[in-house]
Symmetry: C2
Subunit: 172 residues, 2 copies
DNA sequence: CACTATCTTCAATAAAAAATGAAACCATCC
DNA sequence: GGATGGTTTCATTTTTTATTGAAGATAGTG
């Protein structure tokens, strides 16, 4: 952390208030990332990094966004795990510096990989179990139920087909 | 509500416990609908209706899922608004009877219409404001910032292009 | 190696979201 | 019109989720 001398006393430098541009970016990412289940603090961090023209340290984030140490650390961890934030090496500097990876597709593909895909797989197992259960039913419900299960399976397959396509479209 | 006589006293009929098949369906829909931000109770209601071979009343849902009156009413309201649940008329019956609309695309299109689309539009406005803000900046940050804003716009446009396509794919 | 700056973790707290149920509302029947 | 069965609404409570910050771990430094 840098210092400035004032009145002969050493004080912590007050972090610059967020500019209107930064606020727009932050609000925007809070909204989009909340949509895929990410907490506000993660949106704040990514939003600020997205419009930052220089790498920022965790202290910068804590000071300017006024979030806690824990939130900053955890948010960065998540963003790194998703590939949306990178650590850049600053020679001579001890602390890590972070920059945003500008490829927003990172979020979409992480969402698909971490949330959608596993859920579809579990659903497929469920569907199999549901079918063995349905065997025990009596007509006419049995028939109706099989039709519905079949429909579920159909949707899941459609999803599985579609996801790689979406990914390809996004990443390119 | 039906009644049964027991010990000479009129009692409420105990609702049938959920079958394994019903539980699978319910858990499955809880998971998927939570993914698009819908509460558990909505997933429960839709899940049970999806595998129900007969229209169910609100009382049925309350009794079998053990949810409150309010949750049932609000959940059904939401599901109706999305087109995922229909009211069917039962002659002679006073209370409403509900069935699931089996087209799961209803959820996806509602999500796109209610969450994604408006958010993209607001983002476009933000982007415009960000650009006017960026005009005030000094080089070299100015240039970098314009590039980033341009990239944001690019992604939003890509999203706007993609959504109708996804919708078409889903609805068919 | 001892020291210090930095980062991570996690139990406790705060904030946000969902569920509850009583009261208000509505429609139908007699 | 009044009574009754059914539904919606909404203030309160409960549950879930996110944030905080101090303690612990880690790594660079002299």
């Amino acid at each position: 952390m840098c210092h400035i001398v004032m009145n002969g006393i050493i004080e912590e430098e007050k972090p610059a208030a967020l500019s209107p541009l930064e606020i727009e970016a932050i609000e925007m990412f809070i909204g989009f990332l909340k949509l895929i289940g990410l907490p506000k603090s993660v949106g704040e961090i990514y939003g600020l990094l997205f419009v930052a023209t220089k790498p920022l340290t965790m202290d910068d984030l804590i000071g300017r966004l006024r979030i806690s140490l824990g939130a900053a650390s955890q948010g960065l961890k998540l963003l790194r795990s998703v590939g949306a934030v990178k650590v850049v090496y600053s020679p001579g500097e001890r602390r890590d510096h972070y920059v945003a990876d500008l490829a927003l597709s990172k979020f979409a593909s992480a969402f698909i990989r971490d949330e959608l895909d596993p859920r579809i797989n579990r659903a497929m197992e469920r569907i199999a179990r549901m079918e063995t259960e349905a065997l025990l039913m009596d007509e006419p419900d049995k028939k109706i139920t099989f039709q519905r299960i079949e429909r579920l399976r159909h949707w899941m397959q459609r999803g599985q087909k579609m996801l790689p396509w979406i990914l390809k479209f996004l990443v390119r």
